[in-house]
């Protein structure tokens, strides 16, 4: 999306928001086991970046990955079925919230290990280009990830070999409970610049601002430029993980949370639409999600006998653990 498309952008942001809210309900009801890392408040980043990507481009997400997968175009029904561990899920119920993947649309997976996906995506983009596909990639990660050596190594490899990967840092101010200032010496853009990458800071609460910054970077990358980094400043509206709904962790002052929540990407994107357009999108999203929830809840759970299906692509059948 080289041009602005406020309706599409709003639709994505709204879809993620409502998807997350439905997912939270399902966590509360016990239908989703293990909880989730809600993306609430950060929707503008996935929406803005993915709006600037082509369908054939590749992305990787994080533990907080629902937004990335949805924004890239995954079917919300199959995504929800994955969170519920159903056979109709994106990963046939084998992955769950933190591993949702959809290779068919270029989503090489959310990834539960902080900082791990950057190098994987770099290799994938490099390989696909080498095979003749003229595509780029975007890898999302948090402010905590910039302290992981493996991600910094990936910065170096991508920069050195000029692999067109957009490194998107979602700086929501915290790595779980660790404030970014307590964890990051120097700055986040500075870390990219150290490897010769261009880096920009953008308001992550404004999906259009994110889209513009991403589109500019991606245009440079498509024109043969190397990797770039975008630090998107954002705020996590909800818990780090839904276990925080049960166990209260004391690390964000209520006033800070209130200020953080006051800049809502859904309102910012929605405010750019006429009331009728917005209502139409809202209704469409609601219908989509109603259907998704129904589909997911009606889907069967996988058979325990197949617990180790796909363990080996070769089809090797592992010895069981029985006597």
């Amino acid at each position: 999306m080289i041009r602005s498309d406020p309706v599409r952008l709003y639709r994505t942001v709204r879809l993620i928001r409502r998807f997350e809210e439905r997912a939270l309900d399902l966590v509360r009801s016990g239908a989703i086991v293990g909880g989730i890392h809600p993306y609430l408040g950060q929707e503008g980043i996935a929406a803005g970046v993915c709006a600037a990507l082509r369908d054939d481009d590749l992305v990787t997400g994080t533990h907080r990955g629902h937004g990335h997968v949805l924004a890239k175009g995954a079917d919300p029904a199959r995504m929800l079925a994955e969170l519920l561990g159903r056979v109709t899920g994106l990963n046939r119920g084998r992955g769950g919230s933190m591993h949702a993947a959809d290779f068919g649309i270029g989503v090489l997976g959310a990834n539960a290990i902080v900082g791990a996906a950057g190098a994987i995506l770099t290799g994938a983009v490099w390989a696909r280009r080498r095979r003749g596909d003229d595509l780029v990639g975007a890898t999302f990660f948090g402010d905590g990830a910039v302290n992981e050596g493996m991600l910094l190594e990936a910065f170096n490899l991508a920069a050195l070999w000029r692999v067109p990967v957009l490194f998107v840092c979602e700086n929501n101010g915290y790595a779980t409970t660790m404030p970014v200032d307590g964890a990051v010496a120097g700055t986040i853009p500075g870390r990219a610049e150290a490897f010769g990458m261009q880096a920009a800071v953008v308001d992550g609460q404004d999906p259009e601002a994110v889209r513009v910054a991403a589109a500019a970077a991606i245009a440079r990358m498509r024109a043969g430029g190397g990797p770039e980094l975008i630090e998107a400043r954002t705020y996590r509206f909800d818990a780090h993980h839904t276990f925080e709904h049960v166990v209260r962790l004391d690390y964000r002052a209520p006033e800070e949370v209130a200020v953080g929540r006051s800049r809502d990407p859904v309102e910012i994107a929605g405010g750019r639409l006429g009331d009728a357009d917005r209502a139409a999108v809202d209704a469409e999203v609601e219908a989509t999600l109603d259907a998704a929830v129904e589909f997911a809840l009606a889907s069967p759970e996988p058979e325990p006998a197949g617990a180790l299906e796909h363990l080996y692509a070769s089809g090797l059948v592992a010895r069981t653990g029985d006597a």
Binding site: R86, T177, A183, Y251, A318, G321, A323
Partner: protein
């Protein structure tokens, strides 16, 4: 007698050792607010100089702990996820473990690595559900897996006082175990000493970590049919071979239940060492995770991959029939 939970036993061990010995300090992610709940109250009691939140830089903070230990302190490093041990494997094995020999005895590396919630936490899926204690038993790093609150207390205390690195696995399946405990009787548990939880004459069941409780339950169920001895090694490396050989020499039969992958796991090691030293009346048996297991997300699949009571019962019965 008062009830003590396994989790609180760990907290108490940390607090007692920090009180007793100024050189003990804690390092980890989100330990100030105690996201894992194990360090609850310790920040208040011991201050931020001894309860230190780290950036997400597992490799560096693990080696930082090595350095601090070389310089005379006693770090306890908490890891939020068992697979983070994969990430710092080099730092533990190649450095912390090897320094004493390689320097010709010039130093000690008294670090404790604490993994609260090892193994499956239902719903956390493939990258969060490993039980890699066998890896440490192979490389020869002292490894303990307490099953009960009193042992959790006593082994963590001993680990902290130990002059070599020790990995403490606190299985998710044991974290909520509670027991009547005489607080005055809480004491260090010697490293390398197993425990017979239940005496028996027909078969020795060796159970690791939380599975000790399953083994005891199965032993009770089978009480009419067979007299089952339940042996809890508590330390996997160095293993209490003499204690186990004594038991198996009496019973003549051996079944092992262990929540880690089958191939090259501790269950196999137990069988191998026992058959080297004892003539059994029937072939030994083990109940484990399958070879190469990755835990799928869907709860029924996750459970299907873990060893359970049903399998243990069958294994015991088979062993009793033969010979």
């Amino acid at each position: 007698m008062p009830r003590l939970s396994y989790r609180k036993a760990l907290t108490r061990a940390l607090a007692d050792e920090m009180t007793r010995d100024e050189s003990v300090f804690l390092l980890g992610e989100d330990i100030r607010v105690a996201a894992s709940n194990v360090t609850a109250g310790l920040l208040k009691k011991f201050g931020p100089e001894r309860v230190i939140d780290t950036p997400l830089s597992e490799q560096a903070f693990t080696s930082f702990a090595t350095g601090a230990a070389l310089a005379g302190l006693r770090p306890v490093v908490e890891f939020q996820i068992p697979s983070l041990l994969f990430l710092v494997f080099e730092q533990i094995v190649n450095h912390a473990h090897k320094f004493p020999l390689m320097t010709g005895g010039q130093c000690e590396v008294p670090v404790t690595y604490l993994v609260p919630g090892s193994g499956s936490r239902t719903g956390w899926a493939g990258q969060h559900s490993d039980h890699p204690y066998g890896l440490f038993a192979h490389v020869g790093v002292t490894t303990v897996v307490p099953a009960t609150p009193a042992d959790a207390y006593g082994l963590l205390v001993s680990a902290i006082r130990h002059v070599d690195p020790v990995v403490v696995f606190a299985p998710a399946g044991a974290m909520d175990v509670r027991a009547d405990v005489d607080f005055a009787a809480l004491a260090p548990v010697p490293i390398g000493k197993g425990r017979v939880h239940r005496a028996g004459t027909d078969v020795t069941v060796v159970a690791v970590g939380h599975l000790v409780h399953d083994a005891l339950a199965v032993a009770d169920e089978l009480a009419g049919q067979a007299s089952v001895e339940v042996f809890d090694p508590r330390t996997l490396y160095p293993f209490d071979w003499d204690g186990l050989v004594e038991s198996v020499s009496r019973t003549g039969r051996l079944v092992v239940i262990d929540d880690s992958n089958r191939s090259c796991g501790i269950a196999g090691e137990i069988i191998a060492t026992v058959v080297e030293r004892v003539r059994l009346l029937a072939p030994p048996a083990r109940v484990t995770r399958p070879d190469g297991a990755v835990l799928p997300f869907a709860p029924a699949l996750d459970r299907a991959v873990q060893p359970g009571r049903e399998q243990l019962r069958t294994a015991i019965q088979l062993t009793l029939k033969e010979g």
